[in-house]
C-alpha cells in the first residue's frame, strides 16, 4: 500500500513541472513556432531563478521557502527573456525553427554553465559548477490525506504543484476562451487569416514563444528545488525533450497533455517503487527507470497515426505570400 501511495505522490511531483513545460511548448507550437528549445529555456530560466535565490539567501538571509517564490517568478522572467532569442531567430530572421531550437539549447547549456562557474566564484569564494538551493517544503491536506489510495494525491505536496495547476488552469482559459488565445491558435493554422483580420501574426507568435520560455523556466526551477536541490548543469537531464514528447503525445491539446504527463510521472515513480517492492538492490532502479520511455514508445505505436500538428507550424510567416 505504501508503495502505491509513494508512487502517486512522487509521480505527481514529477508530472506537474513537466506539464507546465509541455503547456509552454503547446503555446509556442499552436502559434506556429516549432519549439525544440524547451530544454534550453528551462535551464536558463532555472539559472536566473537560482541566481536570484542565491543573492537573496546571501544578502537578506531569507529561508529556502521564501526565496523559492522569488526564484519561481525570476525563472519565469529569465526564461521568457531567453526565449526572445528563439523568437528573434524564428520570426524576425526566418531561421529554420528546428535548427534554431537546437542552437538555443546548446547556447543555453554553455551560457549557464559558464556563468555559473564565473558567478559562483564571486558568491562562494571558490568557483564551482552549482548554486546550492535546498529542497522545498511539502505539505499534506488534513482529512483528505487519510482517504484510501487517493489520499496520496493530497499528501506531501510541493507548494509549487498548486501554483502550477493554478497557472495552467488560467492558461487553459487564455488559450481557449479569450481573444488572445483565439488569435494565437489561428496563427498556427492560417496566419494569413489573422493578418487579413487585422491581427499581428509576428507579435502574437513572439508573445507565445515568450510565454513558452517563461513556463519552461518555472518547470526547470521546480526540478531544481525538488529532484536536484541545486542548480547545476545536471538540470539538463532532457526533461525539456520529454515535455515535447508529452505534448506530441497529447496531440497539442492542454488537457490530454496533462494526462500524458501524469502517466509519465506515475510510470517513472512506479518503476522505482516496484523495484523497492521487489526488494531488489538499488542497481536495478536503473532498469526500472526505463519504464516511462518503453511504455511511451509502445503507446505511440498505437496513437501516432492520428497526430495532427498545427498546420502552419514551422513555416515562417511571410506577409508578401498570398
Amino acid at each position: 500500500m505504501n508503495y502505491v501511495h509513494n508512487m502517486i505522490t512522487d509521480g505527481l511531483a514529477f508530472a506537474i513541472p513537466l506539464f507546465i513545460m509541455a503547456v509552454g511548448g503547446i503555446f509556442s507550437e499552436k502559434s506556429g513556432v516549432i519549439n525544440l528549445a524547451i530544454e534550453g529555456f528551462q535551464g536558463f530560466g532555472a539559472f536566473c531563478g537560482a541566481l536570484l535565490a542565491t543573492v537573496l539567501g546571501m544578502y537578506t538571509g531569507m529561508g529556502t521557502q521564501t526565496t523559492l517564490y522569488f526564484a519561481l517568478a525570476m525563472a519565469f522572467v529569465g526564461g521568457s527573456l531567453y526565449a526572445t532569442l528563439h523568437g528573434l531567430l524564428c520570426i524576425r530572421f526566418n531561421a529554420d525553427q528546428v535548427i534554431s531550437g537546437v542552437v538555443i539549447n546548446i547556447l543555453g547549456v554553455s551560457l549557464t554553465t559558464f556563468l555559473t562557474s564565473q558567478l559562483s566564484g564571486v558568491f562562494y569564494g571558490s568557483a564551482s559548477n552549482k548554486f546550492t538551493l535546498g529542497v522545498s517544503d511539502r505539505f499534506s491536506v488534513p482529512g483528505l490525506k487519510s482517504v484510501p489510495v487517493l489520499g496520496a494525491v493530497f499528501t506531501n505536496i510541493y507548494p509549487f504543484e498548486i501554483i502550477i495547476l493554478v497557472i495552467c488552469t488560467y492558461l487553459w482559459y487564455l488559450m481557449y476562451k479569450t481573444r488572445f488565445g483565439m488569435r494565437l491558435r489561428a496563427c498556427g493554422d492560417h496566419p494569413q487569416a489573422v493578418d487579413a483580420a487585422g491581427g499581428d501574426v509576428a507579435r502574437t507568435r513572439f508573445i507565445a514563444v515568450m510565454i513558452s520560455g517563461g513556463l519552461a523556466g518555472i518547470g526547470g526551477m521546480c526540478f531544481a528545488y525538488s529532484l536536484l536541490s541545486q542548480f547545476s548543469p545536471s538540470i539538463y537531464l532532457g526533461y525539456g525533450y520529454l515535455a515535447i514528447a508529452a505534448l506530441i503525445f497529447g496531440n497539442w491539446s492542454i488537457l490530454p497533455t496533462f494526462f500524458v504527463c501524469v502517466f509519465f510521472g506515475l510510470a517513472r515513480a512506479g518503476g522505482y517503487q516496484l523495484c523497492l517492492f521487489m526488494g531488489l538492490s538499488s542497481q536495478y532502479t536503473n532498469l526500472f527507470m526505463t519504464f516511462p520511455y518503453v511504455l511511451t514508445l509502445l503507446l505511440l505505436l498505437f496513437f501516432s497515426k492520428r497526430n495532427r500538428p498545427p498546420r502552419a507550424a514551422g513555416e515562417p510567416y511571410d506577409k508578401g505570400k498570398r
Binding site: 476562451k177 488569435r183 491558435r185 492560417h190 487569416a193 483580420a197
Partner: protein, 512 residues
C-alpha cells in the same frame, strides 16, 4: 462631376516587387454605390492594386483617397477602419474554427464571466451573423466547422466577414473562378443585392462575361498599366477582350476533328478512401480512348484529385480495377505505372510536381534519372542529365535565369509548370493526367499549355483532364464526366452538354 462623388480614389499608384513592376502609375476612381470592375489577365497587377487599397502592401508611389480624404494604410485593420473589406481569391479561413469564429476573428465580441474574466462571446456573435445572413440571402450556419463546408459556403463566410465589419467598400478578388454556373448566378445576385443596399463593390476578374452582367464601369489593366476605363453598357465583349490582351484575341477553339483509337484507360468500379478513412471516390467507372480528352468537371473537393492520385498510384485503391492498355495496374506502385505509360501533371505543382531546392536540370530528369544513360550501376552521369535538360529547355521554351543550373524556386510559376509539362509529355505516355494544369498562370502560359494538351491528343494519347474551371473543360474536352461527392453523376459527349446542365450535376442534381 466633382471629387466628392468618388468614394475611392487611387492616384498615380506605383508598386515594385523584386524584378517586377506590378503597378505603374495607375489611377482609378470609384463612385459611391457602383460595381466597378478591374479587368486584366493574371499577373496584370489587379490583385496588387487592390491589396494596397486593403492595406496589405503600401504603394511605393502615389496616393489613396477615401471619401475625398487622403489615407495611408499600414495594415488591413487600417483599411477596415475605413470600412473597406476584401474577399480574397484564396480564402483566408482557419480550417478548424467554426464559421462564426472565423467571422469574428479580429473583432471578437467580449463579455466578462463573474464580471472579471473576459471571454469571447460566441453566442451573441452567432445571433448577429444569422441576422446578417438572412438580410443578404447569404445562407450559413455559424456553428459549422470550416473544414466540413464547401467552397461556396467559404465564400459566403468571407462576404459575411466584411458585412460583419460594416464594410461599405467591398473588394471581390476573382470570386467566381471555382464556382459552378449556378453558384456564380447566385453570387452575382448577392452583389446586386449589396449594391441596392448602398455598398460600393470593386470586382477583380478576367471573365468579361461577368463584367457585362453586373458591372457599371470597368478599368482595364495590362502589365501593370492602366489601359482605359470603359462604360460597360457601351462596350462590346470583343473590344474588352482585345484591350485586356493587347492584341486581337482569337476566341475560336483550335481543336481538330477527333479520331479515337483503342481504349487506353479502363477504370471499373473504383473506390478510394483517404487517410481519415472517408470514402472520397465511390464506385467510379469510365474509359478513355486514344486521342480522347476526357475531362472531369466538379466543384473542388468532390474527389477529383483523389481519383487522379489513385490512377497515378499515389493513393491506395480500396476496390475496383484500373487497366492501362488492357493490363491491370490497380496494385502496381507509382514507378511501375509510369513505366507502363502514365504521365501525371499534379494539381499542386510546388507540393508534388517539382523539388524547389533542386536545379532545373535534376527536375527535368525525374522520370529518367535511374535509367541509362542517366545512371549506370547506381552512379549518376551528370553530362547525360545536362544534355537532356538542355534539349527540353530548348524544345519547350522553359525560361530561367541561369539555364539548367537555375534553382526551380527562383523560377516563375508559368515556367515551373512548363518544365513539368515538358518532363511528362516527353515520356510520350499512353495516358497523361492533367490536374488543374493552368491554375494561377497568365493568359500566354495558359494558351501554351492548352496547345500542348491538344498536340498530345493529336499524337494519340489518352488524356484525363481535371479542372475546376468549367470554361477550360468546355473548351478542351471530347467527353465530360461530372463528379459529385466522389461519384461520377454523368458521362456524356462534350457537345451534348451545356454549361448550365453541367452546373446542375456539379451540385448533385440528377433529377432532370
Amino acid at each position: 462631376m466633382t471629387d466628392q462623388n468618388y468614394i475611392v480614389e487611387m492616384k498615380h499608384i506605383t508598386k515594385r516587387f523584386p524584378g517586377i513592376l506590378a503597378n505603374d502609375d495607375v489611377t482609378i476612381q470609384v463612385r459611391q454605390g457602383e460595381i466597378y470592375a478591374l479587368l486584366g489577365e493574371n499577373g496584370a497587377g489587379k490583385s496588387t492594386l487592390m491589396s494596397m487599397l486593403y492595406g496589405l502592401y503600401e504603394p511605393d508611389d502615389g496616393e489613396i483617397l477615401i471619401r475625398g480624404r487622403k489615407v495611408r494604410f499600414k495594415s488591413a485593420s487600417d483599411a477596415a477602419d475605413q470600412n473597406i473589406g476584401m474577399v480574397h481569391q484564396h480564402f483566408k479561413l482557419v480550417e478548424n474554427y467554426t464559421v462564426g469564429e472565423n467571422i469574428v476573428l479580429g473583432i471578437e465580441p467580449m463579455k466578462k464571466a463573474f464580471g472579471l474574466f473576459p471571454y469571447v462571446d460566441m453566442r451573441e456573435a452567432n445571433e448577429r451573423i444569422r441576422a446578417l445572413s438572412k438580410s443578404y440571402f447569404l445562407e450559413v450556419d455559424p456553428t459549422d466547422v470550416i473544414a466540413d463546408v464547401g467552397v461556396s459556403t467559404c465564400q459566403r463566410v468571407e462576404i459575411l466577414k466584411m458585412l460583419y465589419r460594416d464594410a461599405e467598400i467591398l473588394i471581390f478578388d476573382e470570386p467566381t473562378a471555382i464556382l459552378t454556373p449556378q453558384e456564380v448566378e447566385y453570387l452575382l445576385r448577392v452583389m446586386r443585392e449589396l449594391r441596392r443596399g448602398g455598398k460600393t463593390i470593386i470586382l477583380i476578374t478576367h471573365k468579361i462575361e461577368e463584367i457585362k452582367r453586373v458591372a457599371d464601369r470597368c478599368a482595364i489593366l495590362r502589365r501593370g498599366k492602366l489601359i482605359g476605363v470603359l462604360d460597360v453598357a457601351e462596350t462590346t465583349t470583343q473590344e474588352m477582350a482585345n484591350l485586356m490582351v493587347g492584341r486581337n484575341v482569337d476566341l475560336q477553339s483550335r481543336k481538330t476533328e477527333a479520331y479515337f483509337g483503342e481504349k487506353v484507360l479502363e477504370v471499373d468500379a473504383l473506390s478510394v478512401r483517404n487517410d481519415d478513412r472517408v470514402q472520397v471516390v465511390r464506385n467510379v467507372s469510365f474509359d478513355i480512348r486514344a486521342g480522347e480528352i476526357f475531362a472531369i468537371a466538379g466543384v473542388s473537393g468532390n474527389g477529383q484529385t483523389e481519383l487522379a492520385d489513385a490512377i497515378a498510384g499515389l493513393m491506395r485503391v480500396e476496390s475496383g480495377t484500373i487497366r492501362l492498355n488492357g493490363r491491370d495496374i490497380t496494385r502496381g506502385n507509382i514507378r511501375e505505372r509510369t513505366e507502363a505509360g502514365v504521365g501525371y501533371i499534379p494539381e499542386d505543382r510546388q507540393k508534388y510536381g517539382v523539388f524547389l531546392d533542386f536545379d532545373l536540370c535534376s527536375n527535368l530528369c525525374l522520370r529518367r534519372y535511374y535509367k541509362a544513360p542517366f545512371s549506370k550501376n547506381g552512379i549518376l552521369d551528370f553530362d547525360a542529365f545536362g544534355r537532356y535538360a538542355d534539349e527540353l529547355i530548348d524544345d519547350y521554351d522553359v525560361r530561367s535565369a541561369q539555364g539548367r543550373k537555375t534553382s526551380v524556386r527562383s523560377m516563375s510559376g508559368g515556367n515551373q509548370q512548363k518544365a513539368i509539362v515538358a518532363r511528362e509529355i516527353e515520356e510520350h505516355s499512353a495516358l497523361i493526367i492533367f490536374v488543374q494544369p493552368t491554375r494561377g498562370l497568365d493568359m500566354g502560359a495558359i494558351e501554351n499549355i492548352h496547345k500542348q494538351i491538344l498536340a498530345e491528343r493529336e499524337r494519340g494519347a489518352a488524356i484525363l483532364l481535371i479542372s475546376l474551371e468549367l470554361d477550360e473543360v468546355m473548351e478542351l474536352a471530347d467527353t465530360i464526366g461530372v463528379i459529385y461527392n466522389g461519384s461520377l453523376l454523368k458521362i456524356a459527349e462534350a457537345s451534348a452538354l451545356t454549361s448550365q446542365e453541367i452546373g446542375q450535376y456539379m451540385m448533385g442534381v440528377t433529377a432532370n
